[in-house]
């Protein structure tokens, strides 16, 4: 990277571009002769795909689309992430992918896997079953066997044979990327003047589409730039929780209300890079251990039912946030079911909270903006 491309605006411009034009990233991968695999939420084993010489390509619904072709498959009230992922594929927006893979951890993803297979036989859906008893010793061999099954299917689609060396290298690369993203999250919270909520989201979202090899050096450079700048305590830091919060208009509304994101508890952001693959002589075991080490996530079972509310409340405390905003995806039973318990824990600790209903089809965020302003006033 030259000095120029290392400058803060140039770096942020690169992330913005990568985050807002996934198709361009996909085209670039195809032009390099790579095979690309769509990764539906959640916990996609990107390292495995990468180690097989394929390009993991994030597939978290689609901004700016509305359901028409997918309405044949899902009732209109269904979660927009599922509807619009399918919509994007049905409209040809995923042309060039050789497969999609996804875990089946919620009741929307189950039918999505089935509708996908029915609607798009030419774009195979490779399911990855995940054990919920992650703390039990027998979960590891099971999950590992599912990773092996996925690897076999990827190989049949043209992936390179999985070697230990390649997987080790991919684990190292992705661990570094995760560490850099965690560092960025901390830095972003201290540099509200340079990193708006929208820019923060774009930097993190770019990791879904850009090659990890290109993403990591840029993020490292961005982190260095930010580290060199004086830190400033933001006026109204909040934690954003939910599945995702990537609508530019909504993020601008955060900014207009004077709210900064001190930390997030979003599935698309921090929840996806909280846990690294641990050192292990067997890299596939390491990847399996990474999944099993996850916790305090609404999609996952924790033997201690109090862990999740405690984790969220402590995140607010640790990050210095003054409150929490839950961006609740419409019809997301996972988040809806746990919210009363989270709210009770937040209330018990005197942490103010706000729920904003969201949908990837939402075009008008005016009401959300008003509520964010009122929340900011309450915090102020």
């Amino acid at each position: 990277m030259t000095r120029e491309t290392r400058s803060l605006p140039a770096l942020l411009g690169w992330f913005e571009q990568a985050a807002s034009d996934p198709r361009a990233q996909l085209e670039a991968a195809l032009a390099r002769g790579e095979k690309a695999v769509g990764c539906l939420p959640y916990f996609a084993p990107e390292e495995l795909i990468h180690a097989m010489g394929m390009r993991p390509f994030g597939l978290w619904g689609a901004q700016g689309l509305s359901s028409s072709l997918s309405a044949r498959y899902f009732p209109p009230f269904y979660c927009s992430l599922a509807r619009l992922s399918l919509e994007l594929a049905l409209r040809g927006g995923l042309r060039g992918l050789c497969a999609v893979t996804g875990t089946l951890l919620c009741d929307t993803l189950r039918p999505l896997s089935q509708n996908w297979a029915a609607a798009l036989p030419e774009l195979p859906f490779l399911p990855l079953a995940c054990p919920q008893q992650r703390r039990e010793p027998f979960a590891l061999p099971y999950y590992r066997s599912q990773l092996e099954k996925l690897a076999r299917r990827l190989k049949a689609l043209g992936g390179r044979p999985l070697t230990l060396e390649a997987l080790e290298a991919s684990l190292r690369l992705y661990n570094s990327s995760r560490a850099a993203r965690r560092q960025f999250v901390a830095l972003a919270g201290q540099h509200p003047a340079q990193i708006s909520p929208l820019a923060r989201c774009q930097v993190l979202k770019a990791a879904l589409f850009a090659p990890a090899e290109e993403y990591l050096p840029r993020l490292t450079a961005l982190n260095q730039e930010l580290t060199a700048l004086p830190a400033r305590r933001p006026a109204l830091p909040v934690v954003v929780s939910g599945i995702l919060c990537d609508s530019p208009d909504l993020l601008r509304a955060f900014e207009s209300a004077g709210l900064t994101v001190a930390a997030d508890d979003l599935a698309m952001e921090s929840r996806s890079f909280r846990v690294d693959a641990p050192p292990d002589a067997d890299p596939l075991q390491s990847l399996a251990r990474r999944f099993c080490a996850q916790g305090a996530d609404p999609l996952l079972y924790d033997p201690d039912p109090g862990l999740r509310p405690r984790h969220v409340a402590e995140l607010v405390g640790r990050s210095g946030a003054r409150g929490l905003v839950l961006v609740l995806q419409q019809f997301c039973d996972v988040e809806e079911m746990e919210w009363p318990a989270l709210k009770a824990e937040l209330d018990r600790r005197g942490i103010p909270s706000l729920v904003i209903g969201a949908d990837q089809e939402t075009a008008d965020w005016g009401q959300a903006a008003t509520r964010l302003e009122a929340f900011a006033e309450e915090l102020g």
Partner: protein
């Protein structure tokens, strides 16, 4: 003599109703009472003599008795979003002590959860464990999107089974005894066989009773299928039903009801069908409580094959088979808003079934929240179905 006045019917209904009395008695004796999801292997608590109730059955019963609305509203008041599964919302409201009227089940001292029908089950039960501060015993049967469970899944389940039974035995303060487990399995298998035979009576074109009656016996299958006397009662029901005088003529048409019944409005739903001389001879739910197996591995496999645990391909195959066996002409699909895993595949499933020649219509509703159903659109759908059935009849040579 009709099916409603059979002595075997009364005995079974009484036997089913006893389940909650037994739970209350256990509670009074100071024994722990569990809440168990419908498709948890009931053989496990039965082997340990643990008393359980099923909040889904309770929610269905309360919804039929007009309590779905107030309880769903109570769940709203607790902060649970109105588009969550209404069985779960009712269960959460019951756990919070919001029930005002209707029959009651005791609050649980432990939870037995199996996510083989939906992921929501685990979310729901975790929530109950969190708010009631009681232990949750989980049998995790992940959805795999595969037609058959693979060997690794069975191994995962087998090891969970050993761990779970050890933990539950410690909780119950009783030893886990293989002979008790085998006895529970024998009971469950005998019940499943007898239940299947009762259902098969509907294959007869002159069967004089309606398949919806089978739902009346579901509480028995859910809560008491492992008990020694259950099979005998079901066999007696089968005998008495088979001895009823046949209908003078076949029904005008035979329907399959797809999906959980819309309990709060069941009368309005069935009334226009009855008026049109239509008989319901098949449904997806009632056969789903017959688990057949030979050994532990077979049992674990059987519990993987639930309705919502299956693929679309397998689901289509089982419906096709059922519709053929039961001489079904048309299919009425309840697009049950609260049940995501089910409603998410119904449009495609309906198309597939219609592609195979059945008259298919669907209507919007909810299994327990009365707000999900509207009479006028339903009437239009039923009218459409009747016309389709008529056209097909005319087109027949």
């Amino acid at each position: 003599m009709d099916s409603f006045s059979l002595s075997a019917r009364q005995s079974l209904l009484e036997f089913g109703a006893q389940a909650s009395r037994l739970a209350w008695d256990a509670k009074k004796r100071g024994e722990p009472v569990g809440w168990m999801s419908t498709k948890f292997p009931a053989e496990i608590p039965a082997a340990l003599g643990l008393v359980t109730c099923c909040p889904e059955s309770q929610a269905a019963a309360l919804a039929s008795a007009g309590q779905g609305g107030p309880l769903c509203q109570a769940a709203d008041g607790l902060g649970f979003c109105a588009d969550l599964c209404s069985y779960s919302r009712i269960g959460l409201a019951l756990a919070a002590g919001c029930q005002q009227e209707g029959p009651r089940i005791p609050l649980p001292d432990f939870l037995l959860c199996c996510n083989n029908i939906c992921c929501n089950m685990l979310q729901w039960y975790q929530n109950l464990a969190r708010t009631l501060h009681i232990p949750l015993f989980l049998l995790d049967i992940p959805y795999t999107a595969q037609d058959e469970p693979d060997g690794e899944l069975i191994e995962y389940l087998r090891r969970q089974f050993y761990s779970l039974t050890r933990q539950l035995a410690a909780f119950a303060g009783r030893p886990w005894r293989e002979e008790d487990f085998r006895r529970a399995c024998r009971g469950a298998l005998a019940s499943a066989r007898a239940w299947q035979e009762v259902g098969r009576l509907l294959e007869d074109p002159l069967c004089p009773w309606d398949g919806m009656e089978l739902f009346d016996y579901m509480p028995v299958l859910v809560s008491r299928r492992c008990e020694a006397e259950t099979a005998g009662l079901l066999e007696e029901l089968g005998r008495q039903l088979a001895a009823l005088p046949p209908s003078p003529a076949p029904a005008r048409a035979r329907l399959m009801l797809e999906g959980t019944p819309c309990w709060p409005h069941l009368r309005q739903i069935l009334e226009p069908l009855r008026r049109a001389g239509i008989q319901i001879t098949a449904d997806t739910i009632t056969p789903s409580l017959g688990f057949f197996y030979r050994d532990l591995e077979g049992m674990l496999r059987a519990y993987c094959g639930t309705i919502n645990g299956s693929t679309l391909t397998k689901g289509l195959e089982s419906r096709r088979q059922l519709c053929r066996q039961r001489g079904v002409d048309g299919i009425l699909i309840h697009l049950n808003r609260g049940c995501r895993p089910w409603s998410g595949v119904l449009p495609q499933l309906g198309r597939d079934l219609s592609g195979e020649g059945w008259a298919v219509v669907s209507f919007d509703g909810d299994q327990a929240d009365p707000g999900g159903f509207a009479q006028a659109p339903y009437a239009t759908r039923v009218q459409g179905l009747l016309e389709m059935l008529e056209e097909r009849k005319e087109a027949q040579p």
